[in-house]
């Protein structure tokens, strides 16, 4: 009996000690910060090392999970038969857009020849493949197969296409980097809302139709717990319409923000407000779904 009591007491003592150890680990990890300024601390280094070691394992699971994800998407589509008419209408609309886009592309190429050299001078890391998702219900992140060896650093914008922001790098190891997607609840970016006619989607440049004295709606892009992407803190007086583009603002007053200006992050899906609200409630549709991501690029300098 006495022996059992002493074993149980030993367990409780160990529990207390290990609780303190866990809290110490947590505190050290948070105090280490990210790897941007003073290099990585020991706990971050352990995680980065594990990310390198797990790279092939994640790649294998990604390949194995691919068909299941496709099947899941196909089953989901099968249950959305009611959307067929809407899809047909959208397809017709898209064909019209494609024709218009073709004309504009030709015009764009001609104008670009004239303006050669005036694109934003971004520096890119090599094209990266999305290896696997990581995290749990609190996060929405993926691993890509470029790392510090390719010039990637933490807190750099990650894009698809020419100009579409899909997230930013967080932890970077030698050959991998973790990307926090725009739909992650911890992602935030300073943005402004621009009418489609005034934004060049290729370069991200904004050209006001009525001269320079135009004030666009500005706010902070973030994903709420309800899992919709939205822009917060947009002034009630700002003019925002459905279909407007949401682009990174680059600066907030005198402060330079994390992302260069003009990166597209989505289109406005709805705008609403109640009498008692201080700000507008704006829901944004991201240009790409996280599960559709395959190849991305990290902007390493601008």
């Amino acid at each position: 009996m006495g022996r059992r009591k002493s074993k149980s007491a030993g367990g409780l003592v160990a529990l207390c000690i290990l609780c303190v150890a866990s809290l110490a680990l947590f505190t050290i990890y948070v105090k280490e910060g990210d790897c941007t300024e003073n290099g990585c601390g020991p706990l971050h280094t352990v995680q980065l090392g594990a990310a390198e070691v797990l790279r092939p394992v994640r790649a294998i699971f990604s390949v194995v999970a691919g068909p299941f994800e496709d099947t899941s998407a196909a089953v989901g589509d099968a249950f959305r038969r009611g959307d067929e008419k809407q899809l047909r209408r959208d397809a017709l609309e898209n064909q019209e857009f494609a024709a218009e886009a073709s004309r504009l592309r030709q015009e764009n190429e001609r104008l670009r020849e004239l303006l050669d050299g005036q694109r934003p001078p971004y520096e890119y890391a090599p094209l990266a493949r999305v290896t696997a998702p990581v995290g749990d219900q609190f996060t929405n992140r993926v691993i890509i197969n470029v790392g510090s060896a390719d010039g990637v650093q933490p807190e750099k914008p990650v894009i698809v296409g020419n100009n579409t922001l899909i997230g930013r790098t967080t932890d970077v190891s030698r050959h991998t980097a973790e990307v926090m997607l725009v739909t992650d609840q911890m992602f935030a970016a300073g943005v402004r809302i621009v009418p489609p006619a005034e934004l060049d989607r290729f370069t991200g440049e904004v050209s006001p139709e009525n001269g320079d004295a135009v004030s666009y709606g500005e706010g902070m892009l973030s994903t709420g717990w309800e899992e919709y992407l939205g822009v917060e803190y947009v002034d009630m007086s700002a003019e925002v319409k459905k279909g407007d583009f949401v682009v990174t603002s680059g600066r907030s007053g005198d402060y330079e923000l994390l992302f260069p200006p003009g990166l597209l992050v989505g289109t406005v899906e709805s705008v609403s407000s109640e009498d008692y609200d201080q700000f507008k409630k704006i829901v944004v549709t991201p240009p790409t779904e996280p599960q559709d991501l395959q190849e991305v690029r990290v902007i390493t300098g601008w």
């Binding site: 609780c19 995680q47 594990a50």
Partner: protein, 168 residues
Amino acid sequence: MMRHSLSRAAVVVAVAALLEAVLSPYLTFGGISPKLAVIGVVFAVAGLQDLQAVLLGFFGGVVFDALGGGIGLFGVGALGGLLAGMLAARVGVAPRGAEVLLLAQVAAVAVAARDVIGLVAINLAGLEGPPPIEFMLAGVIPDALVNALLAYAIGSLLLKFVRVKGAM
């Protein structure tokens, strides 16, 4: 006479932590994700002494943290594993046939505890977290229930693997 093998329990805990870190992102739906590391700890340490159970739970949690699982904050998995280990060791012996059910309930409580620890850690780290009440209702409770079902489904397999013949 069957007893829990410490080495087999350690293997189960380590493999469960690895599987959760790699597989869980594919199986996350809203606020629900499979907490294989917690389930692994609960079933692996259930028949061990308190000291062995907490050490193994802590070990599993640290492995999970090191692999960058969950929210990626070091210490959260360790504390979660520790609590899961202690709960499983202290729950006592259930009547034969009911132990999987009992341990599934322990797993549910341990999962809920880890979710809450995760939320507290996010807020302590100064990161954006969901509103606590909504998270309790829409995140913690369904997550605990689904993981209890998962634990009930795979529990007997885990117990079969961990147990070996021999004197206690």
